[in-house]
């Protein structure tokens, strides 16, 4: 999508924030959002759902501050989710609450809340650009992300 024209919000919104879709070798999520901030938030919640056995059981004792800049909305989405994959692998840290602000197609800041877990449902090795496009639909924004697991 053109990086200049991301809408701030949409009147209508998809009923769900994300859904897992079939992929032969890996994992994929179709993600929805009324605007880019919501899309990024739903993407993070969806990815946490892939990694955590029980997302509701993730502790709430750790906070991280994130600031990212990228060349376009798709790259920012990949970088954002890659950040979560990195903390998961290196510190066994998962997050369940995401406060994003100053979000543009090229930049975001966030405070993310979560805690350490002892095991994962899925190990997400990487977030791919495969056929990745943040697209405008009648209901808002949509993107499909394939994860290497």
């Amino acid at each position: 999508m053109p990086t200049e024209s991301l809408p701030e919000s949409q009147e209508t919104f998809h009923d769900i924030g994300f859904e897992e879709i079939e992929h032969t070798a890996d994992c994929a999520l179709r993600i929805f959002g009324k605007n880019f901030l919501t899309l990024l938030t739903n993407a993070a919640i969806g990815m946490t759902g892939l990694m955590a056995f029980e997302p509701s059981a993730i502790p709430d004792d750790t906070t991280r501050h994130v600031e990212l800049a990228a060349m376009d909305a798709e790259s920012l989405l990949v970088d954002w989710l890659s950040e979560l994959a990195y903390w998961a692998e290196t510190e066994m840290l998962l997050f369940h609450r995401f406060e994003l602000y100053n979000v543009t197609p090229n930049h975001l800041q966030a405070v993310i809340h979560g805690g350490h877990v002892s095991r994962f449902k899925n190990h997400i090795k990487a977030v791919t650009y495969h056929n990745l496009e943040v697209i405008q639909t009648e209901k808002g924004l949509e993107a499909t992300v394939v994860f290497d697991v």
Binding site: S75, S82, A88, E89, H123, A126, Y129, H130
Partner: protein, 483 residues
């Protein structure tokens, strides 16, 4: 979707999608299959992904896919693409995130009947000694700066530290070290992910498997390798862990800009690439080689753990429990090689994404012990089915840039496998067949169930029947260790 009338059968096991199929194709796309495998291949988007790779700048001859082809991201898994130097591209997405994911085969002189009473203990020892699962650290604590040495020296680092023998290195692709690796091209984040993971198995489809030789198909080649009927072997399947995943992520991101800079038009952003001669292409190659070297070390340290597990369990019980290496080969890699194209020998960058190098007899890069028989090719099946040892042929050099398949190939998604199969039930079924299972996660086990994969024997028949490899031995599983 690509349908039957979009391709033609040009040989018993070979199909071609002509260059005219899509305007942006630079070469035809070819894939190996039989009628049954063809149905499975058409069940996902892998042929569309294969066609996408036929558009890559600098590609020569054909975009190729092996009979274990299935849908990946960017490249199909089972894909082979060669681009002409100096300006043909190199693609991090074409190598994949698990750089130098590969297979090592170890052999012993132990007979199947001899080991049977100790198999449970051996499986448990392997599970305990070989760290697996997400975020599991290895036993090795690297000194500051030592990871830089490791990625540049590869298996030589393991030799110096006492984790390898000279014979292990001789029987490893490139002697376990790709020259030209540069730790300076690897990010701190990649190093952080990799520093504690040396000698770890990881998760997903990675495994250690104790097998028995079921049948020999090529006795001279098997003898040369040290494979005999009923003897025990061990396979290791894993790669460069978090270090490789992060290097790929870093360069897929960095090269997004290079695509614009060099005016490359790609049908999928995951096919991101840069001319090999460009600074971005050279930097990726140097970093990728570092990850490849890390993976050789990873499998080498796991070999060391396997040897000490055999020692722990079998010392005093089985006289000769020595474990020696047959070969170690990558199946996710890009390498600069010389191949014949249009009657001329030229330098190309061969991307193998879920495909195994399979050089034929006489290749000067093979160790002396294998030069007359061809390169050993190691193709694992699933945890309940056979695995295969083959050798490369002269035909593989002319047809597939010296490449064949890397496994059975998935047909069922992980989510569907988990819905249809219970891990505990699968373990019981495998154990009824006499296959010991040690796994950290039952859902992870369900994802890798045999029914989620194609029939490996059929896949092997296609590569054997098309002449691009020759069967040497079939292995059957006795114990499976998963992270």
């Amino acid at each position: 979707m690509i349908s039957d009338h979009d391709f033609k059968q040009i040989d018993k096991y070979l199909y071609e999608i002509p260059k005219t199929f899509r305007a942006d194709m630079r070469v035809p796309a070819r894939f190996y299959a039989d009628p049954e495998l063809l149905k499975a291949i058409q069940g996902d988007r892998s042929l569309e992904q294969l066609v996408n790779t036929a558009t890559l700048p600098g590609i020569v001859k054909y975009a190729l896919a092996m009979p274990d082809i299935h849908q990946g991201y960017g490249f199909p898994i089972g894909g082979v693409v060669a681009t002409q130097l100096p300006d043909g591209i190199i693609s991090p997405g074409g190598v994949g995130y698990d750089i130098n994911c590969g297979v090592r085969l170890l052999a012993t002189q132990i007979e199947k009947e001899e080991i049977t009473p100790y198999l449970d203990d051996l499986a448990s020892a392997l599970y305990t000694n070989c760290p697996g699962g997400v975020g599991k650290a290895g036993h090795i604590k690297l000194r500051p700066g030592e990871l830089d040495v490791l990625v540049e020296k590869g298996a030589n680092w393991a030799l110096t530290r006492g984790y390898a023998t000279a014979s292990d290195l001789e029987r490893t692709e490139e002697n376990g070290c790709l020259a030209g690796a540069d730790a300076g091209k690897i990010s701190d984040r990649a190093k952080t992910r990799g520093k504690d993971q040396v000698g770890t198995l990881g998760s997903g489809n990675h495994f250690i498997e104790v097998d028995a030789v079921d049948r020999i198909y090529d006795e001279p080649a098997a003898r040369q390798m040290g494979l005999f009927p009923s003897r025990i072997t061990v396979q290791i399947h894993c790669g460069s862990r978090g270090l490789g995943h992060q290097i790929c992520s870093d360069y897929v991101k960095r090269l997004q800009k290079a695509v614009h800079q060099y005016g490359l038009i790609l049908p999928d952003r995951e096919l991101v690439c840069a001319p090999l001669s460009s600074p971005e292409g050279q930097d990726y190659l140097a970093a990728m080689k570092g990850a490849a070297n890390y993976a050789f070390v990873n499998r080498q340290v796991l070999t060391w753990h396997i040897r000490r597990s055999f020692e722990q369990v079998l010392a005093g019980k089985i006289k000769n429990h020595h474990v020696y290496q047959i070969y170690d080969i990558a199946h996710n890699m890009a390498k600069v090689e010389e191949h014949e194209v249009d009657g001329r020998r030229i330098k190309v960058c061969v991307h193998r994404k879920g495909a195994t190098r399979a050089f034929g007899p006489g290749s000067p890069v093979l160790p002396g012990i294998y030069r007359n028989i061809g390169q050993p090719v190691l193709v694992p099946g699933t945890m309940g089915t056979a695995s295969w040892v083959l050798v490369g042929t002269k035909e593989s050099m002319t047809q597939t840039f010296g490449s064949i398949c890397h496994g059975a190939g998935r047909v069922m998604s992980r989510s569907k496998a988990k819905k249809n199969i219970r891990g505990t039930r699968l373990r019981e079924e495998l154990e009824k067949k006499g296959i010991r299972v040690r796994a950290g996660s039952m859902s992870g086990l369900a994802e890798e169930a045999p029914m989620a994969y194609k029939d490996v024997d059929r896949v092997i028949q296609v590569v054997h029947g098309s002449g691009i490899a020759k069967k040497v031995a079939r292995l059957i599983p006795l114990a499976v260790i998963k992270g």
